[in-house]
């Protein structure tokens, strides 16, 4: 566009924000087993998630928006995982990596959670025991495509035509709504457009 007079483009702010989010996913790794090794390989130079703008592995949930559950989750670990999920700011996504995180795998025993999706929202499942790093990249790109559309399992999303389907229409929560929601855990987030609803994430461009 250099030298051109058309060095600008129009878009909605929402699209721009989603584009930025999708291309700067900051992962929070939760590696508890051999899947964690494959996850590390995916982050290293050979597979290199930096190509997808996702190389900033944050061991701090408050600076992350992509939780990668890679490995089996035991009874004692599940509250930890839930607390980490709670601490992550919205919008956030979750990848369930490998057979154990997705279904318990071969460990159908008293101590192992039979799939983390029973308790936290999961956006992408990765089969394999453990999955190869290519599978990890596939899941990452799936999450990217969801983020570009503004879809997250943890929050439903308002689109122009989804307003006719209230069950599917919940916007990205604003921080304001998030804090209000935390005061009363029993009530679901108010649907956008309702009388008590806060401003939804569909900010005017």
């Amino acid at each position: 566009m250099n030298g051109s007079t058309n060095d600008w483009a129009t878009t909605t702010l929402e699209t721009a924000v989603n584009w930025a989010r999708a291309n700067s996913l900051w992962p929070m790794p939760f590696g508890t087993a051999c899947c964690g090794i494959e996850m590390m390989a995916a982050f290293m130079a050979k597979y290199d998630t930096a190509r997808f703008g996702s190389e900033v592995m944050k061991f701090s949930p408050r600076q992350s928006d992509l939780l990668i559950v890679s490995g089996r989750i035991s009874l004692k670990m599940m509250p930890v995982l839930q607390r980490i999920w709670e601490q992550m700011p919205e919008p956030k996504w979750c990848i369930s990596m490998g057979a154990c995180a997705s279904s318990g795998g071969v460990f159908d025993t008293y101590t192992l959670i039979q799939g983390v999706d029973q308790f936290i929202p999961v956006d992408a499942y990765m089969p394999g025991c453990p999955p190869r790093p290519e599978a990890f990249l596939d899941a990452l790109m799936l999450v990217q495509s969801k983020a570009k559309k503004g879809i997250a399992k943890s929050q439903e999303y308002v689109t122009a035509d989804a307003s006719s389907d209230p069950a599917r229409s919940v916007a990205f929560r604003t921080p304001d709504a998030h804090y209000r929601h935390n005061e009363d855990h029993s009530k679901p987030v108010a649907a956008p457009g309702s009388a008590t609803g806060s401003s939804n994430g569909k900010t005017a461009g």
Binding site: T111, Q118, S154, E156, S186
Partner: protein, 183 residues
């Protein structure tokens, strides 16, 4: 330089003779495994035998290797009691490993602690308490070490259901529209 641990048959014979002389009638049985000896006693006699193995200067089982347990419920071969608490010791002097298998009843699974003899037994005894429910009398800090503190039951017992009693499904569910909330 001579290797630190060498196989000397006379050491093994001396060990067996000494233990048999010490334990006498209290020795329920003895087995020779591929690379160690196993002495079977009742739970109340185990600590005296372990103390003897440790303190006898010619035996000197100074090193505590491991402590674990077996649940013989549903075991095809009849055993003196339901639980066997197995202590593994090593004598650097003799180059011999020894297991002391102490049988503990299923009704009142209790056995004296050996943490005063080997402080390394502290966590292993907690593990056996956690998973088998065998109480170690005199243990300084007998609480769960692997399972959550509020867990009920002892899951490695043979009468504990393999898939648990529903503990693994007992967590709050994070719904799409309720960040905290119901199940």
């Amino acid at each position: 330089m001579e290797a630190m641990i060498t196989y000397k048959p006379e050491n093994h014979l001396a060990l067996i003779a000494k233990v048999e002389a010490f334990a006498g009638e209290r020795l329920l049985g003895r087995e020779e495994k591929s690379h160690y000896h196993q002495f079977k006693v009742k739970g109340q006699d185990a600590k005296a035998l372990i103390r003897f193995l440790r303190d006898d200067p010619s035996l000197a089982f100074a090193q505590f290797i491991d402590l674990t347990a077996v649940d013989y419920l549903k075991y095809p071969v009849a055993q003196p009691e339901r639980f066997g608490v197995i202590t593994t010791l090593l004598s650097p002097v003799l180059g011999i490993r020894v297991q002391v298998k102490a049988f503990v009843s299923g009704e009142e699974p209790r056995i004296p602690t050996i943490t005063d003899l080997y402080s390394g037994a502290n966590w292993t005894e907690r593990e056996v308490w956690d998973l088998y429910g065998i109480e170690f009398l005199g243990h300084p800090d007998l609480k769960r070490i692997l399972m959550p503190d509020d867990y009920e039951g002892h899951p490695l017992r043979k009468d504990y259901p393999l898939k648990g009693r529903g503990e693994r499904g007992n967590f709050p569910v994070y719904h799409a529209t309720t960040q905290k909330g119901g199940t």
